[in-house]
């Protein structure tokens, strides 16, 4: 994966750019964030996909309600020997020949059962929760690490920059998926020991940690580049002249000017993290059974793709919609906050 570093046209950036933009749009009096929001609201496609994403999140958050009150099961409960009533007829959830029931389009087993007799609809919703939770938390972790590393490297330059840049280059040299699978397989066996904290190999924190880590170079390097430019700006010089120390300058002057970049990156990172989580889970290096995720569900469905394609298509569709909505919305946010920036993550 190669990431195009943050590139900007020559000229002002951040709040200064917003001010200039505001002048051009004759909206004096509006702050940059309100201006951005106003622009975003005009972008109906982005808003539409944003709403779609919210709906997806809400449906996944409602998983326990569906599981408890509609499907009357949990995502991991097996129903191998159970039966249900369909059109007045008693039917095995899993037949004696091992073939699970197909979609019933009623409360229980709405999308059918998997070979263990687990309700696919319930697993789909819980799987979405896991996928989204991993995506958001991993993106948050990437963002925090990237901003810290990028700001330190860009502001101090010298040996801190050299050290961090080398570290990022090493990580960059491994394709994300290969690095993710390698870490996933290794950590799934022995778990992770961080000082006094032990994380089991089957914990969701493992894929979060892996995904949060492997994307750091792709955000930290553009952040560093932007900090290198910002540290030479007049307002930083002014702060320095007033006697502000490096920490204060970084937090009061530099980081606020990175806000739009961070926000845009964050939305794009969520999409990429969800996608990577699914890929890792599909390859057996992400979410561990019996926990569901869209990736594990696609993996489980592949074996039956000829006879029950919905097992693969439905979680795949959820994944596509989630990633698409986040990407389109993220682009919209970028255009609204900083129309001339071209922040993007490229695989």
């Amino acid at each position: 994966m190669a990431t195009e570093p943050l590139t900007e046209q020559a000229g002002l950036q951040g709040p200064a750019a917003w001010e200039q933009e505001a002048e051009r749009e004759h909206v004096h009096g509006l702050g940059p964030w309100r201006l951005g929001l106003r622009r975003l609201r005009r972008n109906r496609v982005a808003i539409g996909f944003g709403v779609l994403f919210v709906l997806l999140v809400l449906s996944c958050l409602a998983a326990p309600l569906w599981a408890k009150h509609v499907a009357h099961t949990t995502p991991t409960e097996n129903h191998l020997s159970d039966t249900i009533k369909l059109d007045g007829k008693t039917t095995n959830v899993v037949g004696l020949d091992g073939v699970p029931i197909g979609p019933t389009y009623q409360g229980e087993f709405f999308l059918g059962a998997d070979p263990n007799g687990r309700d696919i609809m319930v697993r789909l919703l819980y799987g979405g929760r896991n996928s989204l939770m991993i995506g958001v938390v991993a993106a948050l972790m990437t963002t925090i690490l990237s901003v810290v590393l990028g700001v330190i490297a860009g502001y101090f330059r010298g040996w801190p920059d050299l050290t961090i840049r080398s570290l990022l280059d090493i990580m960059w040299s491994f394709p994300v998926l290969i690095l993710g699978v390698a870490l996933g397989v290794a950590l799934a066996l022995g778990g992770l020991q961080l000082g006094p904290i032990t994380i089991g190999g089957d914990s969701l924190l493992i894929p979060i940690f892996i995904i949060g880590l492997v994307y750091v170079p792709y955000m930290a390097r553009p952040v560093r580049g932007q900090v290198l430019a910002l540290r030479e700006k007049e307002f930083v010089e002014a702060a320095r002249a007033q006697g502000a120390g490096p920490l204060r300058i970084m937090f009061s002057e530099v980081v606020p000017n990175l806000a739009s970049t961070i926000l845009v990156f964050f939305t794009l990172l969520i999409a990429n993290a969800v996608l990577l989580e699914s890929a890792l889970s599909f390859l057996g290096a992400g979410v561990r059974p019996p926990n569901p995720s869209w990736g594990t569900m696609i993996d489980e469905g592949v074996d039956r793709i000829a006879t029950a394609p919905h097992l693969t298509i439905v979680p795949g569709l959820m994944l596509v919609l989630t990633v698409l909505s986040l990407n389109v919305f993220g682009d919209g946010v970028r255009d609204a906050l900083d129309p001339r920036a071209k922040v993007r993550l490229e695989h």
Binding site: D97, G98, R304
Partner: protein
């Protein structure tokens, strides 16, 4: 056949393997589960067939292979001094007969010395003569290469010294061979009632005396068998062709029918099944996947059958680790284990049961698999309430339990189902799914101390010893332990030691093995849940009626395969 994990997968694969080539004629008699393949017609000779396996054999070297993927083809390439007939009569085919030896061994009164004589005029597939000393070399390769089968030959006097010497050409004190007379004398440290079976294992199929002590998967050595390996490309394919130097070893050890068998490695069982249906493949070693099987059974029942094998699937419970160190807990698990539910995960290819010894093994008592099972009829739903109460009474409700399993299909699903069943009994159980390639080593490590999990065993040879070493207190070791539950029942261990020394499998001896089997089950050292069925599925051009022989020890017999 050794390592459980690999075997499980391989066996599965082996399931369908069979009959490819065909003979003509014969009325349809689909669903025949006798394994005889006797359709009453004549098998046609000649032609080429293409078959499939889901994964590559572990090794294409007789000294090393220990999976069905490797054993099924290689036992037809490397004939040992003793072997098993291939007649289609399951009872007859379970008895050891002379292979490359002229006769069965002469055993000394103390049961420690075996004498055999090599048949005269034997030639390897490359035309070179077979010598008596080649047997010693075959044993040396097994020991020197640290094969999974080396444990079987450690009873030969001086075997351990040979291993310690770490030289391929060092001497094994307990084997004397005279190339002039063809006599071979084997001295054992202790009597071993199953040693004739051990001599009939593929590990000691004869190879030339100059065969190097290294893994020869990519260029398998010549052997004496109906077929020879002419190509071996790992992870792609291997080819067997008729061995024109195969001698006449009698009517019970026939030559093959087809001239050439190409085995392709095809990862997707779905694709394999579709290819067999369409005729692209003539036979698949794995059973058809569950969702295709109903179609196969309905539409192609004239070329599909299932056969129960001498295998046992069970859950081990580590007696040295809480909560399974309490008998009442193990009792509860045996009572609460939903065997019919687990059988469904095998697409009906597991016959529920609770006997550790499987059908076909001396000492097997069918009643133990039905009404005499102390934990309730294994074909009926379990008494979960009773089991849950027992767990509560034992004071271990809510205890954390990690259930070990591997990612082979359907083992992963079985592991998850077992964890769910333990949760329903009152534990906080979660599955731990490991890669199939490291699973059995991992659970066989004392350091890992697994609590409970999936295990299975397919017979290497029809002798109860081959199953009971899995629960023998003397076989417990810190690494590569096959006694996963650390079963160490003094009475059972003593019984195994005594019965191992019985030179003959009389009815009385078999009954004693049966008693041990019953004690093992009643004392809940393990939780058996069934015996595996394997399947045979042919393409339309194969002669299913006359050429689908199923061997009780080696499963689908490629030498019986023929075209219509």
């Amino acid at each position: 056949m050794g390592k459980l994990g690999r075997r499980a997968l391989a066996l599965l694969l082996a399931a369908l393997s069979m009959s490819v080539i065909a003979a003509c004629g014969g009325d349809d008699d689909s669903g025949d589960s006798s394994g005889t393949g006797g359709g009453g017609g004549e098998a046609k000779n000649g032609g080429s067939i293409t078959i499939s396996q889901t994964s590559q054999p572990d090794f294409m070297d007789p000294a090393l292979t220990y999976t069905v993927n490797g054993i099924e083809p290689l036992w037809l390439v490397y004939t040992p001094l003793l072997t098993y007939p291939r007649t289609g009569d399951a009872e007859k085919d379970s008895l050891v007969v002379p292979g490359l030896a002229e006769d069965l061994p002469t055993i000394s009164k103390d049961g420690k010395t075996y004498e055999l004589t090599l048949r005269k005029g034997l030639k390897y597939s490359d035309g070179s003569p077979v010598k008596a000393s080649d047997f010693e070399h075959a044993v040396k390769r097994v020991l020197n290469l640290e094969s999974g089968g080396s444990a079987f030959y450690l009873g030969i006097e001086g075997a351990q010294d040979y291993i310690d010497a770490d030289k391929c050409d060092a001497d094994i004190k307990g084997i004397e061979a005279d190339d002039k007379t063809g006599t071979i004398t084997i001295n054992l440290s202790e009597p071993d009632g199953s040693f004739s079976n051990v001599l009939a294992m593929w590990f000691v199929g004869l190879v030339p005396g100059d065969t190097p002590c290294k893994n020869l998967t990519e260029s398998p050595p010549p052997g004496v068998g109906p077929y020879k390996v002419t190509e071996s490309v790992p992870n792609r394919q291997f080819v067997l062709e008729k061995n024109t130097n195969f001698p006449d070893l009698g009517p019970d050890i026939p030559a093959g029918h087809v001239d050439k068998i190409t085995t392709k490695i095809v990862k997707s069982a779905q694709r394999q099944a579709q290819d067999v249906i369409s005729g692209e493949l003539d036979y698949m070693q794995d059973p058809p996947p569950a969702d295709i099987k109903p179609e196969v059974k309905a539409k192609y029942s004239d070329r599909y059958k299932e056969i129960t094998t001498a295998s046992t699937y069970y859950m081990f419970m580590n007696n040295r680790v809480a909560p399974f160190d309490k008998k009442e807990v193990r009792d509860a698990v045996n009572i609460g284990l939903d065997k019919p539910a687990l059988a469904r995960l095998f697409a009906g290819e597991v016959a529920p049961g609770c006997s550790f010894l499987p059908p076909g093994q001396p000492g097997f008592d069918e009643a133990l698999d039905v009404d005499d099972c102390p934990w309730g009829n294994p074909n009926e739903p379990p008494d979960i309430e009773k089991a849950r109460q027992m767990i509560k009474d034992a004071g271990v409700a809510g205890a954390d339990v990690t259930v070990y399993g591997n990612n082979d299909d359907p083992t992963d699903k079985v592991t998850e189902a077992y964890a769910d069943q333990l949760t329903k009994l009152g534990f906080k159980a979660k599955p731990k799914i490991l890669d199939g390639g490291v699973y059995f080593q991992t659970i066989g490590s004392a350091k890992e101390a697994p609590q409970t999990g999936f295990a299975n065993w397919f017979q290497d040879f029809p002798h109860p010893k081959n199953f009971f070493f899995l629960v023998d207190g003397k076989s417990i070791q810190p690494t590569n332990n096959q006694n996963f539950g650390n079963v160490d029942d003094p009475e059972i261990t003593k019984g195994i030691a005594e019965l191992n020394q019985e030179p003959e499998m009389t009815d009385e001896v078999a009954a004693k093995w049966g008693d041990l089997n019953k004690k093992l089950v009643e004392r809940a050292w393990i939780a058996p849940y069934g015996h595996r069925k394997l399947a045979t599925f042919f393409s339309e051009r194969m002669d299913f009626d006359n050429c689908a022989r199923f061997h009780p020890v080696y499963f689908n017999d490629y030498s019986s395969f023929c075209l219509k």
